[in-house]
């Protein structure tokens, strides 16, 4: 590819990323991207930027630009109606709890990225994309994300409800999966605690905070098969060696 052609193709890649190429041109650029690392990299960069243009249209505050408050109940009624025959139609349809788990997984995916990546910092993200070593870490993080989603969607996962979320276990994996957890007070974080079977004292585990939507998914580095309970408390940043406040949740794994 000579320089002139290269430049023109990168421009077309940008238009494709915006979604403004007619189908025939889009097919041609798509095929090129599949075989050209430089254009693929440019496409990956610009496609997410193009999606951000859509974010500028989010409607907040002004009631004139918000959907009717009647719409949500209407959608939920429709969903309930569609779900009803699903329970009776055999293996083709998902069981209700699996659908719920899928929705939870979908809701938490972006916060998974927050926990695993942005818990470091944005500069780290830039560096990650540039170095092979960092790419490996990123791949591991994605791998963990996919394992988590697979666990949460699995029909043999166990779900233990708590206010604002669930504890989910599957095999040797254990997760705190919150969908509506309030932000902790300034200077505080949530900390997980685990109680091993036969133990009298809890052991400190990971600290975490929910994202701005109250969503947090935290894989805990313990085997739930050897655990009797999981607890969550509010602790100072950096965590504590033993709980300093009354736990907001204590969940027996029985």
């Amino acid at each position: 590819m000579n320089e002139r052609t290269d430049h023109e193709m990168l421009d077309e890649v940008a238009v494709y990323a915006l979604g403004a190429l007619p189908p025939a041109d889009a097919n041609r650029v798509r095929a090129h991207i599949a075989s050209c690392p430089e254009c693929r990299e440019e496409y990956n960069r610009l496609r997410s930027t193009a999606s951000l243009v859509g974010l500028s249209a989010e409607t907040i505050g002004d009631a004139r630009f918000c959907p009717s408050t009647l719409l949500k109940p209407r959608i939920m009624r429709e969903i309930a109606k569609q779900s009803a025959p699903a329970r009776d139609s055999g293996p083709k349809m998902w069981p209700a709890y699996l659908v719920a788990a899928a929705c939870l997984a979908i809701a938490i995916v972006s916060s998974m990225a927050n926990i695993s990546l942005s818990a470091q910092n944005r500069q780290m993200q830039t560096e990650l994309s540039r170095s092979a070593d960092a790419s490996k870490k990123l791949a591991q993080s994605l791998s963990q994300t996919r394992i988590t989603i697979a666990d949460l969607l699995s029909s043999d996962a166990k779900h233990y409800d708590l206010e604002g979320g669930q504890i989910v276990t599957r095999g040797s994996h254990l997760y705190i999966a919150m969908h509506s957890l309030p932000q902790p007070p300034r200077g505080k974080v949530y900390q997980a605690w685990t109680l091993a079977k036969g133990a009298k004292k809890v052991a400190p585990s990971d600290t975490f905070v929910p994202d701005s939507n109250g969503v947090a998914v935290v894989p805990l580095p313990v085997d739930p098969r050897t655990m009797a309970a999981v607890a969550i408390s509010v602790e100072p940043e950096g965590g504590s060696k033993q709980p300093t406040t009354k736990p907001i949740a204590v969940v027996p794994l029985t």
């Binding site: 421009d11 997410s48 569609q82 929705c103």
Partner: protein, 162 residues
């Protein structure tokens, strides 16, 4: 169902906002909002990881353009909704941004770059039609779209100064 409601509460404004901007009428935007969430409920497997917000924006844009297409014969480009895995890494950035910051970054772009980008995204027209509307050569439009997207990305990559 509770988790799905949480999902709706978190994302319905962006879905409605994109649909409203593209279609220009509240009734159509509400129809798209309902279609998108019912589709998500019935086919959650369509989402294959990456950033959910970025994905649902693409789905909403495509559904909105479908509606426009049904109203008139058009020739729009579409985002792929199911993405190769490696692309999802870039979407991480999406979760750090809010609408106000994106609007500010867009507003900072020169009009000659901002207008073709917004036309391409929200009007759903091809670069050829953008060039005709702006009365600018096609090659120039393509370059401006690329320059604008790169500049937008650089602006949004900057850390927020509190």
């Amino acid at each position: 169902m509770r988790a799905f409601e949480a999902l709706y509460d978190t994302h319905h404004r962006i879905v409605y906002g994109v649909a409203l901007r593209i279609l220009g009428d509240a009734h159509g935007a509400e129809d798209v909002l309902q279609t998108v969430f019912l589709k998500l409920w019935n086919s959650p497997e369509l989402f294959r990881g990456g950033n959910f917000g970025a994905w649902i924006v693409r789905v909403t844009r495509n559904r909105s353009l479908d509606v426009l297409r049904s109203r008139a014969t058009r020739n729009e480009g579409e985002f792929p909704e199911i993405l190769p895995e490696e692309e999802t890494l870039e979407d991480v950035a999406f979760s750090h941004l809010d609408a106000e910051r994106v609007r500010a970054a867009l507003a900072d772009l020169p009009a000659e770059q901002r207008e073709p980008i917004e036309l391409g995204f929200f009007a759903g027209i091809t670069h050829e039609e953008i060039a005709r509307r702006c009365n600018i050569p096609l090659g120039t439009i393509k370059t401006r779209i690329r320059s604008g997207l790169r500049r937008l990305r650089e602006a949004l990559d900057q850390p927020v100064i509190a």
